[in-house]
């Protein structure tokens, strides 16, 4: 099951790299392949929640020696969300007309990298899958081939490569200290290690994921890239690739190095708060929708960090649910940006409500979980921040809603039916998760438990 989830997009990607993806047949084949992978991941998540984690060791080595693939609730949930976002973005782009022959293959390879890194239990193969997905997204960021997109793609690649190499240095340090690369073993052995060294490793890894997620002091690349990318690529970057950052913080922060997380909590809360406020204030002052969404992504990343560092089990559940809801919101909003048609105003409004945390949307339950974490941990700051941030996000989302959908009559013709259908399907998903949140909350709780058991 694990191998199928990984091999499906991989083989598909390699095969499709050889053909011209602008042809409808090839592009739909890619979408079908990714849809199949999505189905496999959904089954996988069901199995993991019902019977506990699944494990497989590559090459028949004994566990702990060979490279382990392991699906627990956290990994499977993130993989499912990311692939769902990728499928919708790919279908959107196929319907709108693909402009580059390698686009479908790159999306499939990106899906391979993401699935792999969410489902691996080995620190180094995490790095390898991480690079695989990042390389695909560097190329995707330059998709469109205008000088502006190329420059943005270059900046994106350079900044994130610096992050990746810091992570690699962190991996080297982990291996030096623990003599192992298996996450569970690493978590076990780091507990007895010198806390100074562990903190140093934690800082290197935190910076790497902070860059990926676009947290406040490391966010400077993000607005340039999100505003110049095409809607489908922006949706992939913010809805799927940014998940690496949230997942990495959860897995390495709370799972592998919980002591360092506790020790660094005041700093992390400070950075997260700065991120929330900075993102919200910048968004309020912007007028272009893509720019507002980009800064809003900086702010939303802050919530994940603050919740993660404030609280124990409740905080972890909140961070997981929030990250998932946020990924879906961002994909929905970016995909609806350039769609024209009768339903698009409604779709955008639902996305805006979800970001602001108004029921019945998935974003509401993200906020409820964060609120609960704040109350359980008696953290006045978190609750106050939640309301302030919520109010500001309401403000900026409706500023652009008003600016884009009320004030000016759009003269451009309506988009194709399929192009319109993709954001509508995502909207239905966001509303459905708001009306019937049990599966999401259950998966979030299971994921939080999986994190606390140590490494995967």
């Amino acid at each position: 099951m694990l191998a199928v989830a990984l091999a499906l997009p991989w083989f598909g990607g390699v095969m499709l790299a050889l053909v011209d993806g602008r042809r409808r047949g090839a592009a739909w084949l890619a979408a079908g392949c990714l849809g199949l992978a999505l189905g496999v991941l959904a089954v996988l998540l069901g199995m993991v929640i019902a019977d506990g984690p699944l494990e497989g060791v590559a090459g028949g080595w004994p566990s702990g020696v060979g490279i382990t693939l392991r699906a627990d609730a956290l990994g499977a949930l993130f993989a499912l969300t990311s692939v769902a976002v990728l499928v919708s973005a790919l279908v959107y782009e196929v319907a709108a007309g693909i402009r580059s022959p390698r686009f479908p293959a790159l999306v499939l390879l990106l899906a391979t990298g993401l699935t792999g890194l969410f489902l691996t239990a080995d620190v180094f193969s995490f790095y390898v899958f991480f690079e695989l997905s990042m390389i695909a997204s560097y190329v995707l960021a330059a998709y469109g081939d205008k000088s502006r997109q190329l420059t943005a793609g270059f900046i994106f690649a350079v900044v994130n490569l610096l992050g990746s190499f810091l992570f690699l240095i962190g991996v080297a340090a982990i291996y030096h200290v623990t003599g192992s690369l298996d996450m569970a073993t690493v978590a076990e052995r780091l507990q007895g290690a010198d806390s100074g060294i562990v903190l140093l490793i934690a800082v290197a890894i935190f910076v790497a994921f902070g860059v990926k997620l676009g947290l406040f002091p490391f966010h400077f690349w993000l607005p340039t890239v999100y505003t110049s990318a095409t809607p489908a690529v922006a949706a992939m970057l913010s809805g799927a690739v940014a998940n690496i950052g949230s997942y990495g913080l959860l897995r390495f922060g709370a799972g592998v190095m919980p002591e360092a997380l506790q020790l660094g909590a005041p700093v992390l809360i400070g950075l997260g708060t700065a991120s929330i406020l900075y993102g919200a204030l910048q968004s309020v002052s912007r007028r272009s929708a893509a720019e507002v969404l980009a800064y809003s992504a900086v702010g939303q990343a802050g919530y994940v960090l603050v919740t993660l560092s404030v609280a124990g089990a409740v905080g972890l559940t909140a961070a997981v649910v929030y990250a998932i809801a946020n990924a879906l919101n961002k994909a929905l909003l970016f995909l609806s940006l350039e769609v024209r048609g009768w339903a698009v105003g409604l779709v955008f409004a639902v996305g805006a409500f979800s970001v602001a945390g108004v029921p019945p949307t998935a974003g509401f339950f993200g906020k409820v979980e964060v609120f609960r974490a704040g109350v359980t941990e008696d953290s006045v700051a978190l609750v106050a921040l939640l309301f302030l941030g919520g109010a500001l996000s309401f403000l900026y989302m409706f500023q652009i809603y008003q600016h884009d959908f009320w004030r000016e009559q759009r003269r451009t013709p309506a988009s194709g039916r399929l192009v319109q259908a993709v954001p509508i399907v995502l909207m239905v998903l966001v509303v459905a998760l708001g009306l019937w949140p049990e599966p999401l909350l259950r998966a979030g709780q299971e994921a939080a438990e999986a994190v606390q058991e140590g490494g995967p």
């Binding site: 000088s147 502006r148 270059f154 690649a157 490569l161 991996v171 030096h176």
Partner: protein, 123 residues
């Protein structure tokens, strides 16, 4: 030995970071290459053990750690691929904008946006 490695990693990383701050795309690429090699060197230094090559060792003989070398070669290959990709992107930027200077690129972009706004106003 560890000290020598530490100095080596530090110098490589420092020079790489210095080059990354230059406003020239190709210097930035070279900076990334240096930083990637600093990471590779750190990876090698992470598992320094003395001994013979771990190919059919005699019982009880000390062997050097083969894992770090496997890790480093993987990281090297990734670094190589990434460098190739960065060079291609830098070249494409040069072809489309006729400059590799970041300051000039941002000036050109600002001019381009001004033109767009003017066109919008005229419409």
């Amino acid at each position: 030995m560890t000290l020598a490695y530490a100095i080596g990693v530090g110098v490589l990383f420092g020079s790489g970071a210095f080059l990354l701050l230059k406003p020239d795309l190709f210097r930035i690429v070279v900076g990334i290459v240096l930083v990637s090699n600093a990471a590779n060197l750190a990876l090698m230094a992470g598992g320094l053990t003395r001994g013979s090559a771990p190919v059919d060792p005699a019982p009880g003989e000390r062997v050097s750690d083969p894992l770090v070398q496997a890790l480093t070669i993987t990281a090297l290959v990734i670094g190589f691929a990434v460098t190739a990709l960065l060079l291609v992107v830098a070249y494409r930027v040069y072809v489309s904008a006729h400059t590799v200077d970041l300051d000039e690129l941002s000036h050109a972009e600002a001019r381009h946006e001004q033109n767009l706004e003017r066109e919008e106003l005229e419409v």
